[in-house]
Symmetry: C2
Subunit: 208 residues, 2 copies
């Protein structure tokens, strides 16, 4: 017997297969959702049989859960990197840049989290009210400090962060709508235009 999924990772082969399944699962789950996707679709996308997928993981839900967990850190990294040491406006604009880049380069991850939260985030457990809240509160305090020091216009830091999340992720999550409304020509530069627009908006807003 094997049980590749339960204990610590072993061989390189196992790591590679698990990674292939993660990749396929990200493709399928982000497009169809957890309930809308089937194990066979994931297996086919990974180039494996359904039973073989179950061999490496212990079921559909576990793939989804581990996938979500493995992506969480990477997802909040840009906010983590927002530093009190740098120039206030620079730090925030850099954060916007990285978030727009993530919408452009990691739209599947964005949609995966969006779908999860949209449906009540039952599988994110209590990560939201603990880890994420702590992180946001921390960074909001930094921003508040900048505002108190007169380096930024006074605004609610939490809602400022929400606005950046929403505006940037919008271009990944609602890409179909964005492209439909912009039309084929203007869609080509939608990410550059979005980044310029959001930065412009924030510069005007945050200027003390």
């Amino acid at each position: 017997m094997a049980r590749a999924g339960t204990t610590a990772r072993k061989t390189r082969n196992q790591m590679e297969k698990r990674q292939a399944i993660f990749e396929a699962a990200l493709d399928v789950f982000s497009e169809k959702g957890l309930r809308g996707a089937t194990l066979e679709q994931v297996a086919k996308a990974a180039g494996l049989s359904k039973q073989n997928v179950v061999y490496y993981f212990n079921g559909k839900d576990q793939i989804y859960a581990e996938l979500l967990e493995s992506l969480l850190q990477k997802w909040v990294q840009p906010l983590h990197d927002l530093s009190a040491e740098g120039d206030p406006l620079d730090e925030i604009l850099t954060y916007v840049s990285r978030k727009v880049q993530m919408s452009r380069n990691m739209p599947r991850e964005s949609r995966l989290f969006a779908t999860e939260i949209l449906h009540g985030a039952p599988r994110l457990g209590d990560v939201l009210p603990t880890d994420l809240k702590t992180l946001v509160d921390d960074k909001a305090a930094i921003i508040q400090g900048w505002m108190d020091a007169g380096k930024l216009a006074p605004l609610d830091p939490h809602h400022l962060i929400f606005s950046i999340w929403s505006m940037t992720q919008h271009y990944a999550d609602f890409d179909v709508q964005v492209r439909s409304v912009l039309g084929p020509e203007r869609s080509a530069t939608r990410f550059e235009d979005a980044e310029a627009f959001i930065k412009d908006m924030l510069i005007r807003t945050l200027q003390p």
Copy 2:
């Protein structure tokens, strides 16, 4: 034979039952998605039997399709009401108000559309590239006119509309996250705070 669903509506009874099913479907579909929800859940929420639901509609997909269609107009109405006649900033801030109100009072509708678009909007057909694009282009032209007249700061009108969509709908679609991050106390006033923040941001941004 009956076929309550295919032809024009008849009795008051049919209208009421269909409305009850719509209400139930909005509840269930917005929470679990089309594929994640079952007919029996919709039926139970509507106080009917599964087969009886099929009697009034001709299947699960038809309920979803008609529900989406019946909500579409209501959903874009605020943008439709944005008028070239009014004061530029007033018109835009009023639009924001109405969008925040919709996030507060119609979160299910917001999540339903969000899920649909997130998954590629296959059932919105070509409404996005035609009707919605036309509407947005129309309103963007009005805003552009205001900017050309020096009444608003020059910005990309399309991305301005996107930013309003994303920021306002964020508080409906990602409500779990917003409440988790804000904590119980601050969550109580999240919609008022959001409206004030977004308006503040837009005022600073759009001031010529």
